[in-house]
Symmetry: C2
């Protein structure tokens, strides 16, 4: 590397961030439009909060803080106040609802969409900026609001094209775990830290399996890289009921049965445990009466969600189908969204009760899943490219492009300075469906030549013989200039 | 204020940032969709770069740096590298184009949309996060690319509903000013600072008028608040030709006349000046041949744009109509976008030529203008609200809402715990077009009562007499439950 090279400014994406191109953006737009339509059908209205908030207003609620900044990008304003990039769409909503409490019609149903930022160690498929789409209801204490979230989540996944049976919305109630922890001696302020470790250990069930979680509940766990994570230090008697929760697979229609399971007897005394059970039963009743079967929404006591602030029902949207990765190995997408009730979050600002519940979709992950299902948007075609055969006649080419645009057909003229071959290569790389050519002969005859590049590409795979190719000129046609639009429309119609 | 109040966490937006509600978001979406469609018609394709970039990759090109951070929000990563929130959409594109130079089909036409961030002193209508919509062509040295930007800008404003005559795209060439500055002794590296002051002084013409700019070119200027801004310190002989530029009103079709204006004689010797003139002439030729008259696009030598990095053609989209503000005073929106050629920006990374030109729309300002023109999106109506008359019958109300949703009608049930009056008030605040009521009588009769809340509100203004009101019940109708959807659709159709 020469000195000149090393001195030159390096063009590189910041670590953990990505650029996104037209195909991916079209897919996101299509997804987001569908989610928005579904949410609006349910009476939710759009809201947008800024990307930057006062650090104290956001609070610190992120799991897995492996960074000094506790997972958040923060910086100081010139008046010394700390600002942070939002790390989710819930904390800013809590700020908004509290700040505008008297102005909003409550219960307040709202949706928000956009990027959030995490100051975390980036990894494969793990970025520091990613998209979320949230719906929240603020000011409704009834579990009806939670049930509605679950039903809307199911509707949304189906609207996005995920067949029934390929997803499930799992519901639980944080109070069940809280009651259970109280009963095994983890109640009180002094055990808050331990409870958080338990919570986050259980939230890792998907990734670590029951044995991994058990280690995190007990002495701790060494991961593949040799790093040791300290456990909650619980004893065998404390761990057993927690593990029972995890191993209780879906209870289907028999939630009541859960109340009588062998270990639960001693926990039903706990008011918080039985509150949780009552709420779960109520949610299940609403859901069933509304016609959502356990193939769509079901109670699952292993769902806890990793965020500390949930206070009641928690729910998670999971994709259950498998796809093959590039090596043919089956992969599951698992959780693509989740949420729960967070009655304390708005209350922090208000000093009085402010119930709220919300659901967040991990847009990027869901988009990958839709792509795997073949439900993503197709790569958008490029514009028709008008070749520039003679620079002196640029005005003619501009006019051809303009004529196409006026008919609603995306069209551009070649803006570079290269010759015919390079221009055809350019049209190809632009995914142009059609190239428009008007040399001096065509101009004199009042004609244009149109090349159907899609057909041309297909044919070129079949016609091996160069001579035959040149003679047949597949997909190429010369027409009167007045027929330009009609002929291009015909060509485009073949592939739409 | 009690101690409890002062200790409580305060819910407040960060300084200089705003929340946006459904009406404004719907307007933005409608606008952005129109701009996107227009840009795609011209062959531009979507790209998204992240919000965070390495500080050195963005560079420092902001005018008016009244902040220590030079107008940018910056923070250090845990590997000590400096990161910044993007302050525009051009600098990240330059990074993208350089980083992906060999992968992109050139000339590369791209558009990008999203918020940008400025670490500036916020003021009325001046926010630290705002929306831009940019289009750029990278890899085309020809002024054809610049002319295309101007024509596309005109098309875009018309597509947004701004009538011809209410806007103008002004074009100039930075080389004219550069040549002129060279001729008055401001050439060379040692005068770079002075040239920047001149540039920014001229860019303030709109706000300060010719006299204000003159002061900034000379000794300096004291503003209304008494703050003094140091001037470029030019003498009378240097200032005169610069002011001539500003006072040359639009040259319309007679650009050539410009070449012969009294003061210009001595500048036409400057190769850079005459380069600029040649390019302007070429742009005008392309634009006229393409059918855009001076009522849409015209040469204006007073346009310079405040950013240092422009190297050739610069252009500005200006709204020319006046609206009245709340006090009846006429206001003009002025510039709603602009751009120019920045051949050095990508080259910084590449060490070789990388021509580029781009146009940026100030979405928020343009949106305000469209609103003033009555071309903004209408405030979206709220959902149909199903009142909860009897909590035991929640399932019935859920079913009514579901029936409406399945017919594509946005509907929700009331989720709170208040009575009939509060629910009607809620429906009103939600801008619900229709309220659905099913008391026990209606239930027994298999009926529902529908209140047309729009008509109700209109009638309530007319019918003063409370008794007549109660008797007539305007806009209220009781129908068979089977006719729910049809009747609601009829009511909605009245106002759409």
């Amino acid at each position: 590397m020469s000195a000149k090279d090393t001195n030159r400014l390096k063009a590189r994406l910041a670590r953990g961030f990505i650029d996104r191109g037209p195909a991916e953006l079209a897919s996101t737009r299509q997804m987001v439009d569908t989610i928005r339509r579904t949410y609006e059908l349910w009476g939710f209205e759009a809201l947008e909060t800024p990307f930057v908030e006062y650090t104290d207003a956001l609070g610190k609620f992120l799991p897995d803080q492996d960074r000094p900044n506790e997972g958040v990008f923060s910086f100081q304003d010139d008046d010394e106040q700390w600002l942070s990039l939002r790390y989710d769409l819930t904390a800013p909503l809590a700020r908004y609802a509290a700040e505008n409490w008297d102005r909003i019609a409550k219960p307040f149903r709202t949706y928000r969409f956009g990027p959030v930022f995490r100051n975390e160690k980036p990894g494969p498929g793990r970025f520091r900026q990613f998209l979320q789409f949230d719906a929240d209801t603020v000011g409704a204490a009834s579990v009806l609001a939670d049930a509605e979230m679950c039903m809307m989540a199911a509707d949304t996944l189906e609207a996005l094209g995920i067949p029934r049976g390929d997803y499930v919305i799992k519901v639980n109630n944080r109070k069940i775990l809280d009651g259970l922890m109280e009963a095994i001696g983890l109640g009180g302020e002094e055990n808050a830290g331990k409870r958080l470790i338990v919570l986050r250990a259980i939230d890792k069930l998907d990734r670590l399996g029951v044995e991994g979680v058990k280690l995190l509940l007990g002495p701790g766990r060494k991961d593949e890289s040799g790093d040791f994570t300290k456990g909650a230090g619980l004893d065998e008697g404390q761990i057993r009921p927690l593990v029972f929760l995890l191993e209780t697979t879906s209870l289907q229609r028999d939630v009541l049965g859960f109340l009588q399971f062998p270990l639960a007897g001693r926990f039903t005394e706990s008011p918080i445990f039985s509150d949780g059970m009552q709420e779960l039963l109520k949610i299940e009743e609403i859901i069933r009466l509304s016609g959502y079967g356990p193939d769509r929404i079901r109670i699952d006591p292993s769902v806890v969600r990793g965020l500390e602030y949930y206070t009641g029902p928690v729910y998670e949207a999971e994709l259950t189908f498998e796809v093959k990765d590039e090596d043919g190995k089956p992969i599951r997408f698992g959780s693509v969204g989740g949420g729960g009730r967070y009655d304390g979050l708005v209350a922090r600002f208000r000093g009085e009760a402010a119930p709220a519940t919300g659901f967040s979709i991990g847009v990027s992950r869901l988009q990958a899943a839709l792509q795997a299902l073949g439900k993503g948007a197709a790569e958008p075609p490029g514009p028709v490219v008008v070749l520039v055969m003679d620079k002196e006649r640029t005005a003619d080419y501009l006019a051809l492009a303009r004529t196409l645009r006026e008919a609603g057909i995306a069209a551009e003229i070649y803006l570079g300075s290269s010759g015919m071959n390079a221009q055809m290569k350019y049209a190809d790389r632009r995914r142009a469906p059609v190239a428009v050519i008007q040399g001096s002969n065509e101009k004199e005859a009042g004609e244009v030549t149109l090349k159907d590049l899609v057909l041309g590409k297909e044919m070129s795979k079949k016609i091996e013989d160069r001579a035959a190719w040149t003679e047949e000129r597949p997909g190429q046609v010369t027409v009167k200039q007045a027929d330009l639009v009609a002929t291009v429309q015909e060509m485009l119609a073949r592939y739409s």
